[in-house]
Amino acid sequence: MNQTDRPIANPIVVLREEFDDWAVLFNPDTADAVGTNPVGVAVWKRMDGKRSLDDIVSEIKKSFEDTPDSALKEIAAFVNTLAENGFAGLELERKIADA
C-alpha cells in the first residue's frame, strides 16, 4: 500500500480551540500536546484524507489574507511535524480506492 499526499488527522487527537483562535492539539492516548496558530487550526480541520496538500494550501490562501509564497512549504513542514509526533498520517491508496 502506498501513501498518498493526502494528510489525515489522527482521529483520537482532540482539537481544543482557545479564545484567540489558536488551539491545542491533545492526544489523550499519550498526553502529548502541541499548540498551533489559526492557520494550523484551519489546516488541521482540512486534514480529512481526501484533500491533498495542494488542495489544503489552495483553500488556506482563500481564507487568509497575505498568504506568503512559502505557504506550501510551511504547511508541509507543519503536517510533517504532526506526522512525526503521531498527530497525523498520510492516507493510504487502498483506503481511497475503497472509498
Binding site: 481544543r16 480551540e17 482557545e18 479564545f19 484567540d20 489558536w22 488551539a23 491545542v24 491533545f26 489523550p28 492516548d29 499519550t30 498526553a31 500536546a33 499548540g35 498551533t36 496558530n37
Partner: protein
C-alpha cells in the same frame, strides 16, 4: 521546545548567578518576598564580600556561567557596587540589575552602562507618590524611582519598569503604561504579589487581587494593552494562562529558571535562589569553603529537582500540559508554601479551585 543547555560533559550548566548582595534594604515594601531589614544607608546589615563575589564567579565560569543578576535587598546599597561592576565587565558577563532606583544617580547609571550586555529593571508601584510610597514605605521614593529611570535612559539604557499589582494600585494599570512610556523605558512587567515573607501578610490581609481578577488582568494586559503601546508588556503569571501566541513568541515570564541558576545570598552562601534568606534548608554551602562544582553537581536538593521536575509535580501542576516549560512556575515559592519541592504553584491551585484553570491546558497520560 528548546533542550536544556548542557555543557561539554553533558551536565547542566549554571547560566546565571543570582547575587542577593545585601541583607538590608533602603525601602520597606509591603509585598517583598525576601523581607530584608530596613537600612537607609547600607551600613547596618551584612553585604556580600567582594572576595566571595569573585570566587563564586570564578568557580561558576568553569560550569558555563554567562551572566549575573545583581539584586537584594537593594544592590546599589552595596558599598563596593562599582567594583562588582568592574568584575562583571572583566569577566565579560551579561549583567542584570534589579533596583528600586533610590541610589541610581547619573554616575551610577553611567557605570552600569559600561557593561555592553546589560539589563536593568526599576520597581515602581504606582503613578503617584501616595500610591507608590504606601507600598514602598519611604517618602520620596516615588520621585527617586522615576528619576532613576530617566538617569538610565540618559545613560543609554532602556530599562524595564516592574509594577506589582495589588488592590491599592490596580486602578492605575492604564495610567502606568502611559507613565512608563513617557519615562522612556523599554518594557513594563506586571508582577503578582507572591505569598512569601511580607507578601504572605499582604495576602492574609486581603490587600492582593483575587485569582479571578488576576487572570482577567493578565488577559487585559496581554490582549488589550500590549498591542496598543510601543512598550513591551509582560504579565508575570504561569504559562497555562498565557495566550499561545505569547508563548510561541518566546516570552519566558512565569517560568522557573531553576535548572540554570544558582543563588548567592549576602551571608556568602549558595542557595536555591533568594529563598535561602527565608528557608535554611534551601541553603547549599558556603562560597570559598565549599567548591561550587561540588555543590552544583552533588547537592541533594538540586539532584532531586533535576531528576524529579516536572514529572513529580503534584496537584494541578501534574496535569498541566505546560509543566515541561513552566516547571511549577516557582519552586522556591512552592517549597515555602508547603515544604515540598513538588507542591503545585499557588496561583494554579487557586485557579483550579475556582474553576478558572484553562481546561484546554490540562491532560494526563493514561495509567
Amino acid at each position: 521546545m528548546k533542550p536544556w543547555k548542557k555543557g561539554l560533559a553533558g551536565e547542566r550548566t549554571i547560566n546565571t548567578l543570582y547575587f542577593y548582595l545585601t541583607e538590608g534594604c533602603n525601602l520597606a515594601c509591603r509585598h517583598c518576598w525576601m523581607g530584608p531589614r530596613f537600612d537607609a544607608t547600607g551600613n547596618h546589615y551584612p553585604t556580600l564580600p567582594v572576595e566571595s563575589f569573585e570566587t563564586a564567579i570564578r568557580e561558576a565560569k568553569s560550569l558555563g556561567l554567562s551572566g549575573v543578576k545583581l539584586t537584594g535587598g537593594e544592590p546599589l546599597l552595596h558599598p563596593h557596587f562599582s567594583r562588582l561592576l568592574e568584575i562583571v565587565r572583566r569577566e565579560e558577563l551579561k549583567l542584570t540589575v534589579e533596583t528600586n532606583g533610590l541610589l541610581c544617580t547619573p554616575e551610577v547609571a553611567a557605570e552600569i552602562a559600561k557593561s555592553p550586555n546589560r539589563f536593568v529593571s526599576v520597581s515602581i508601584d504606582g503613578t503617584d507618590a501616595a500610591t507608590h510610597e504606601w507600598v514602598r514605605g519611604v517618602p520620596g521614593s516615588f520621585e527617586a524611582a522615576r528619576q532613576a529611570v530617566r538617569n538610565l535612559v540618559a545613560a543609554g539604557i532602556m530599562p524595564q519598569v516592574i509594577f506589582t499589582v495589588m488592590r491599592s494600585n490596580v486602578d492605575q494599570v492604564d495610567a502606568m503604561v502611559r507613565m512608563v512610556q513617557d519615562l522612556g523605558a523599554a518594557s513594563l512587567k506586571f508582577n503578582v504579589v507572591q505569598p512569601t515573607a511580607r507578601g504572605e501578610k499582604l495576602h492574609e490581609n486581603l490587600e492582593t487581587l483575587n485569582i479571578a481578577d488576576l487572570i482577567a488582568l493578565g488577559r487585559y494586559v496581554e490582549q488589550e494593552l500590549a498591542p496598543n503601546t510601543r512598550l513591551d508588556l509582560f504579565f508575570h503569571y504561569p504559562h497555562a494562562f498565557k495566550a499561545l501566541s505569547r508563548i510561541a513568541s518566546g516570552e519566558g515570564c512565569g517560568v522557573c529558571g531553576i535548572f540554570g541558576i544558582m543563588g548567592v545570598i549576602a551571608s556568602g552562601h549558595y542557595a536555591l535562589c533568594g529563598i535561602g534568606e527565608q528557608v535554611p534548608e534551601l541553603v547549599f554551602g558556603e562560597v570559598g569553603k565549599d567548591r561550587l562544582a561540588e555543590v552544583w553537581r552533588e547537592n541533594a536538593v538540586l539532584k532531586a529537582l533535576r531528576e524529579g521536575l516536572p514529572e513529580k509535580l503534584e496537584g494541578v501542576c501534574s496535569r498541566c500540559l505546560l509543566k515541561e516549560r513552566c516547571l511549577g512556575s516557582c519552586v522556591a515559592q512552592n517549597y515555602y508554601s508547603k515544604s515540598s519541592l513538588w507542591a503545585p504553584y499557588w496561583f494554579c491551585e487557586q485557579a483550579e479551585e475556582a474553576g478558572l484553570f484553562p481546561s484546554s491546558r490540562l491532560g494526563t497520560r493514561p495509567a
